[in-house]
């Protein structure tokens, strides 16, 4: 198989290879900071072009003779340079930001002019600059909440940083911070995301057409790159808000007398302080509730061709009630990357990554104090080679190695309590995924990108695996319409490193772009993705107590096939662009819970999970205004997401928890003058599916609800308006004020509606009254906030 693939690739390579060509390559950087720019257009003689990769590197092959190079990037001054090519050349460009003068202000929601020409579809790029101009949701600019304003992306619940992409559940998003997988991207139970906007350079979301270079999750890839730090001068930023404060410093390393340092660093930190207000509320007097995080990035140019990057993230949440309860959770990650320009056409990047998500719960009730700890650790090694064969033809190949250690739980006594220590078995897995991805220009009009990923997942020992009666942990009993747990007959002991179960799967990916004319293109894509990790959480909202279970003897990997078709158009000289995409996604072996699942302290999670199928389809529409005083976008999504799982909803299709029929986002940023800037966004979404009771009965003194169809009802529609105003400093000043009002007209959106028995409190005890009520919960009313930012 591998031989055939290689052979095909060589043939392709040969067919696109032409003689007597020279290569121009180099880096494109931002002038003031020396920061590499990603996605910059490098256009030759107005006919052929390329874009810079995530390290700002480009390479393009041309015939000898005179040419004109145009380097352009929205928001930056375009460079036009004539050259005469007589051999391979290395040319670096420094782009200057367009000045802040009124008529020149450009804000862009993505590298837009690219959309029509690029083979990529279903991709959105957001720069921190744009994210920071959007009204903050709860007093804090948030990367993940910004992407929820894009079509096809919706929020798990109001105010939550959890997100769903094209009907995928939130664990089907691969969230990468400088290539390190982040397992839980939320702070404070989902109200904030772990990404500090100050330290983030840009965010790229793949909703579909996921290239073969990524793998491991079904629905999307959110690729977040941290800033590299200023190569030229030392600087910093302070931000003081009502909810949190943050600080950042950056500067060159080994600058000496030269214009630029040999490297640069960036260090950013945040700390929330909502808990300072806690003493104001009697109930919360002894409560601790905060998060903090630290981002670090260092890069160093070993020489012209070799660079080293070190990036790190450390974040922690703490929630504690004195003498009763404590919960700490957080991610940490470290990435060491080496990029090397091997030749004008070959670019090699190699990353070694460590990532860890852990949580700890302390129960401090007198006599039975104990601590519960759980973690997922993974180590990655990711070499990748990019070969810029010729203009429009690029081959990327590499292997992703990942080693996982799952520690589902460990209980230890605290304060000499008599709790018996318990240690659930650790689980280990190894994932190896070689891939090739090829971008090929067939003609001026037609370009293709296709690739193949081979994922090979092994569950390895040491582990003792139960042997169930009937070979399966659960058997469906159609008479009773429920799953019955099977008895464990014996256990098979696997030694350290022994293979317990392995899976090998091919993941083909392909996209095509047909350029109708200079301003219009049509694109199509297909991709198959496999996911070997399952998030076992009985909640739609983000909780820190997530349990991730690897595929193995009783849990099959989940996979999806996605087909997408799109139409892209720009008009009025790129001032506006428009896109329309349709997608259909088939999901297999997705997990859901058997009714009445008990997940807390469950060692054998497979006994609580059933696997079934899903499907999702929809239409996404987006209109962007990219330049002028007023910029922004309007997006609309029409979609349907369903599941079919044995034992749920009489075995028929039912709407998934994240199904949302209509979703509209309207985002506007208005630059009034040099100093004042205004932002607004309005979001409307159809109500999420919920299951309301169809009857009641009594049992053991309590009123019990009876239900017919899973997710057969809808919450009321959701809508809200957020506003912000930014007062930029006068010339020479460096303080910025940001005023915002989230949920401006104080809409009490239903987070959920509960049906329950009415109770009356008598002597501190809620006595059931025998009658019933429906009660709506809303998370957030109107939230005004102000932030002061100071640059030095």
């Amino acid at each position: 198989m591998k031989k055939t693939v290689f052979c095909i690739l060589m043939c392709i390579a040969h067919s696109v290879w032409s003689q007597n060509e020279y290569t121009i390559s180099g880096y494109v950087k931002e002038f003031s900071s020396g920061e590499a720019l990603f996605g910059v257009n490098v256009l030759i003689d107005n006919t052929m072009g390329t874009t810079t990769n995530e390290y700002g590197f480009y390479s393009i092959s041309l015939s000898g003779g005179p040419h004109t190079i145009v380097v352009s990037y929205l928001g930056f001054q375009t460079i036009t340079e004539p050259i005469t090519l007589e051999g391979d050349r290395r040319i670096n460009f420094d782009l200057r930001e367009e000045s802040n003068a009124l008529d020149e202000v450009v804000v862009t929601s993505s590298s837009k002019s690219n959309d029509v020409r690029s083979v990529e579809m279903s991709v959105a790029t957001l720069k921190t600059g744009v994210i920071k101009k959007l009204p903050p949701a709860i007093g804090e600019v948030d990367v993940l909440k910004s992407i929820q304003l894009l079509p096809g992306v919706s929020s798990v619940s109001e105010g939550s940083s959890g997100f769903n992409v094209r009907g995928g559940s939130s664990d089907q998003n691969l969230v990468l911070l400088d290539d390190a997988t982040i397992f839980n991207a939320s702070h404070l139970l989902g109200f904030f995301s772990v990404f500090n906007a100050d330290a983030v350079k840009d965010v790229k979301l793949y909703k579909g057409g996921i290239p073969a270079t990524f793998g491991g999750r079904l629905s999307s890839v959110l690729d977040i790159k941290q800033k590299e730090g200023n190569l030229k001068k030392f600087g910093g930023e302070l931000g003081i808000g009502l909810i949190s404060s943050r600080a950042l410093i950056e500067g060159p390393i080994a600058k000496g007398d030269s214009d630029e340092g040999k490297g640069s660093y960036l260090l950013a930190g945040r700390r929330s302080y909502i808990d300072l207000f806690a003493p104001l509320l009697d109930d919360l007097e002894d409560t601790q509730l905060y998060f903090y995080d630290i981002n670090l990035k260092v890069n160093y140019n070993l020489n012209e061709n070799n660079r080293l990057f070190l990036s790190g993230y450390f974040g922690q949440d703490k929630f504690a009630v004195e003498n009763i309860f404590g919960n700490t959770y957080g991610n940490s990650s470290a990435t060491l990357r080496w990029t090397s320009v091997l030749s004008d056409k070959l670019f090699l990047q190699t990353s070694g990554i460590f990532s860890d998500y852990n949580y700890e719960v302390d129960v401090l009730t007198s006599g039975t104090e104990f601590q519960w700890e759980s973690s997922i650790v993974n180590y990655n090694f990711k070499p990748r080679l990019s070969w810029f064969i010729s203009s429009g033809n690029t081959l990327k190949t590499g292997v992703d190695f990942t080693y996982y250690e799952f520690n589902p739980g460990e209980i230890s006594p605290l304060n000499n309590s008599n709790t018996t220590p318990q240690d659930f078995q650790e689980k280990f897995a190894l994932e190896t995924a070689p891939y090739v991805d090829f971008e090929q220009k067939i003609s001026e009009k037609l370009s293709l990108q296709y690739g193949l990923r081979l994922s090979f997942f092994q569950r390895i020992g040491e582990e003792s695996v139960p042997v169930y009666e009937n070979g399966e942990p659960l058997t469906y009993n159609p008479t009773l319409d429920l799953f019955e747990e099977n008895t464990i007959l014996s256990e098979t002991q696997f030694g350290s490193g022994d293979v317990i179960e392995s899976f090998t799967n091919l993941e083909p990916r392909a996209s095509a772009r047909f350029l109708w004319n200079e301003t219009t293109s049509v694109k199509a894509s297909y991709n198959r993705n496999y996911q070997y990790l399952h998030l076992i959480s009985n909640s739609a909202s983000a909780t820190p107590l997530d349990i991730w279970a690897p595929s193995g003897p009783f849990l099959r990997p989940q996979f999806s096939d996605q087909y997408a078709l799109g139409y892209f158009k720009t008009f009025k000289d790129n001032t506006f662009d428009f896109s329309l995409e349709a997608y259909y996604k088939d999901l297999r072996d997705v997990t859901d819970f058997v009714d009445g699942a008990d997940l807390l302290f469950e060692e054998d999670v497979e006994t609580q999970v059933v696997q079934g199928d899903g499907r999702a389809y929809g239409l996404e529409f987006q209109l962007n205004k990219n330049s002028g005083k007023l910029t922004g976008w309007l997006s609309y999504t029409l979609s349907r997401t369903e599941r079919q799982i044995l034992g749920i909803n009489n075995n028929e299709y039912y709407p998934a928890n994240n199904d949302q029929t209509h979703e509209v986002s309207l985002v506007g940023i208005y630059q009034l003058n040099d100093r004042w800037e205004f932002g607004a966004n309005f979001v409307y979404g159809s109500g999420r599916p919920v299951t309301f009771p169809t009857g009641k009965f009594e049992q053991e003194g309590l009123i019990v609800a009876d239900f017919d169809n899973r997710n057969g009802n809808r919450l009321p529609a959701f809508h809200r308006l957020d506003l912000s105003a930014t007062l930029n400093p006068k010339k020479g000043g460096n303080g910025t004020w940001i005023f915002s009002i989230a949920n401006a007209y104080n809409r009490q959106n239903a987070a959920t509606i509960f049906f329950r028995e009415r109770t009356q409190e008598i002597n501190d005890v809620d006595i059931p009254l025998g009658t019933t009520e429906a009660s709506k919960f809303s998370f957030l009313g109107i939230v005004p906030s102000v932030t002061y930012q100071f640059k030095f």
Partner: protein
């Protein structure tokens, strides 16, 4: 382990409610709920109680009605109900208001009892097996100060010894002055029922009968430990999870679903009954609260 689970369950559930300074609105009058055709409901089962022997075994039959209805569930008065252990058949006679009873039936340990209900031309059938329950080694009260998670007062406590090498499932009931007390609390699924999965054959010391129900001085407090079947344990787990799910939970919100009954409709399997026909062995003790 049982205790750990109890306390943990209690705390994380309660925390969710504390954290979200969320706004709650009563929307009972704004909601239109679909109604489904009435289903047969069974309440009750067979109980073997050596401390205060029952004069008769009884069950209650009703039908479901709309969830937000203010009316009590209509009683089923026209059913034919019988119970058999495979050899003897006991008729349960209608006493009025949906109560069916028999004075002859004296439940025996280890016996599987099957209930047969004939109603509206259809036959429902369900079984449960009676498991022996261990006695209390000690039954006492302890005063506990209130915290934000639990009320203040005297709580019923007990020691008991789990029989070794058999699977045991327990259910705990508290009575105030002879009247059954239960609170729709998120922690019930962790607190009111237990299995010996992690402490088979061990003595359990100082466990709560119901940590949500405090007693005051002068009250007559009764605690029961019921030996139940694994099926009934699973049923009660779902029952308490659902009835306790009254707010946003830090520990998650499992999707609601009909709690499956052990009664099967032999004629139209899709038309199910709700409720559970259980058999239980009961250990009971009573104490008057003093200072």
């Amino acid at each position: 382990m049982k205790t750990i689970k109890r306390i943990f369950g209690l705390n994380i559930m309660a925390l969710g409610c504390v954290f979200f300074l969320a706004c709650e609105t009563d929307v009972t009058d704004d909601i239109d709920l679909a109604s489904s055709p009435p289903k047969l409901v069974i309440q009750g089962g067979l109980e073997r109680n050596l401390t205060s022997p029952l004069v008769q075994q009884e069950i209650l039959l009703t039908v479901t009605n709309d969830f937000l209805s203010e009316e009590p569930n209509p009683a089923v008065t026209n059913a034919q109900v019988s119970i058999t252990d495979g050899t003897t058949v006991w008729q349960m006679n209608h006493q009025g208001s949906g109560v069916y009873s028999n004075t002859e039936l004296s439940p025996q340990i280890g016996t599987t009892y099957t209930m047969i209900i004939e109603w509206e031309g259809e036959t429902y059938q369900g079984s449960d097996t009676l498991n022996e329950v261990p006695r209390f080694d000690r039954f006492f009260t302890e005063f506990e100060e209130g915290t934000i998670f639990s009320p203040e007062g005297y709580f019923l406590k007990f020691d008991t010894t789990d029989p070794a090498n058999v699977e045991n499932y327990y259910y705990y009931r508290a009575f105030r002055n002879g009247e059954f007390v239960i609170v729709p609390d998120p922690g019930n699924a962790q607190i009111l029922i237990a299995s010996d999965e992690f402490n088979d054959g061990q003595q359990i010391i100082g466990a709560d009968i119901n940590g949500e129900v405090p007693f005051q001085v002068g009250e007559l407090a009764t605690g029961q430990q019921l030996g139940i079947s694994e099926e009934y344990f699973d049923y009660l787990f779902q029952l308490f999870t659902q009835t306790g799910n009254t707010g946003i939970n830090f520990g998650g919100n499992p999707p609601p679903a009909t709690i499956r009954s052990n009664l099967i409709n032999l004629d139209t399997p899709g038309r199910r009954a709700v409720g559970f026909f259980y058999t239980a062995d009961v250990e009971e003790a009573t104490i008057t609260i003093t200072e």
